[in-house]
């Protein structure tokens, strides 16, 4: 299978702090990769390097074999092929759900309004919110807002979707609806990189789990291998803390 996204030797510093220290990661098409690790381990920074919200200081980010971290790359055209879902949803509060989903369709893909709205409705239907198209974010629950945010990314038909702690800001009873949308995306073959603390979801849905600490990948493998037979002491103590 081909690589949808590949990081090669990616390093990122914030001042003296080395957030990423030569990270290599290959994500195959259709794969769901789960990133876990203590806070400050570089998971979110790694995710944000994938669509260049953070620019790596060194290393390459390859989208379908092409380095997008190098010079001469149209970043805007590249970013629309990589969806991103944020912990805080980041919906546009002045637009209704459909407006949130169609903005990029109209302004980036330059679709006519009717076509953009048809695609927007289809995306909202896929996340189960067809009836909320005309509601503003403030009128939606956290789980509904996050599903609109997923629809906003999905509508652009990206090659890869990045999830940055998509359920961390949700009340426990709202987590399930977001995870089930992610499950469906996976079933449809979407390539996904997920930063999350939902270990049960990782065990059930991930093809591969990557454990990070201090800006490096410490251990990776199938959920079964990592959770049942962690090799490193750091992963063992991390899993013990998470379980506690």
């Amino acid at each position: 299978m081909s690589n949808a996204l590949e990081l090669a030797g990616v390093t990122k510093r914030f001042g003296d702090f080395r957030a990423l220290d030569g990270v290599d990661l290959r994500v195959r098409t259709g794969e769901l990769v789960f990133l876990i690790g203590p806070s400050g381990s570089g998971k979110s920074t790694l995710l944000r390097c994938c669509n260049l919200l953070e620019c790596p200081d060194q290393g390459a980010v390859l989208l379908e074999g092409r380095n997008i971290a190098g010079p001469g790359i149209d970043l805007d055209a590249t970013r629309r092929r990589i969806g991103m879902v944020f912990q805080a949803f980041n919906l546009y509060p002045h637009l209704d759900a459909l407006g949130n989903v169609t903005l990029a369709l109209r302004k980036v893909l330059r679709l006519p309004r009717a076509e953009a709205e048809a695609r927007g409705h289809a995306a909202l239907t896929r996340v189960g919110l067809a009836d909320k198209a005309r509601n503003r974010p403030a009128e939606l629950s956290g789980g509904q807002q996050q599903r609109v945010a997923i629809a906003r990314s999905m509508a652009l038909e990206p090659q890869v979707m990045l999830f940055d702690e998509p359920t961390s800001a949700l009340d426990p009873e709202l987590v399930g609806e977001v995870l089930s949308v992610m499950r469906e995306l996976r079933a449809d073959g979407m390539t996904m990189i997920v930063v999350s603390h939902e270990m049960r979801f990782a065990r059930e849905a991930a093809d591969r789990v990557v454990f990070m600490d201090s800006g490096r990948i410490v251990e990776e493998g199938t959920p079964e291998a990592l959770f049942s037979a962690p090799r490193s002491e750091r992963l063992r103590s991390f899993l013990a803390r998470v379980a506690a």
Binding site: N51, A77, M84, L91, A104, R136, A138, R152
Partner: protein, 224 residues
Amino acid sequence: MGDFSDAFLNARVLARYAPDILQGVWVTLALSVLIVLSGTLLGLALAALRALGPLPLRLPVIAFADIFRALPPLVLILIAYFGLPSVGVFMSSFTVLFVVLTLVLAAFAEEIFWAGITSVPKGQWEAARSTGLSSAQTLVWVVLPQAVRLAIPPLTNRAIAVTKMTALGTVIGVSDILNQATTAQSFSGNASPLLLAAVAYIAIFLPLVVLSRWLETRFAWRRV
């Protein structure tokens, strides 16, 4: 009471000079509309430049806004009217007043829009950029609609404050309301035209104050 009504409500004087003051009303109104439109638009353009432009463009914007907010408008008016002709720049008193007050309002409007832009959470920029919107598109379609709503209450107050300064034009002979009234007052030796001027100002600016309050409620919406 008889003294008061003779001093401020002298019917003969009022009838004689009302047409002059009405003419002043049109001048003040025209200036106010021009200043509010061009000052607000210029301020918005400068704030956008500050948000998107490279450092060599941002610094002059900041310097402009700071200097024009710091200087008393009357000083700028006098310099432009009496000083600029000696370096070969001639402007009518109307033009001087329009240009100076437009720049003053633009300086305040730039700061107000800028404050609105910076108060929009960073996540809004990131979400928009992650869907492929350029920074200019993000500013126009995502950030400004939120920033402008935040800017409207302080902006309307500032616009009213600056347009009232059109009365400063009287010192360089702009035939606005106050100038007509002081002229009438000195010809007639009676203060009634000044009271009429005050009434004219209220007629112009009170609706604006009410409009600004309506705008504030109209553009308020629940924050997420």
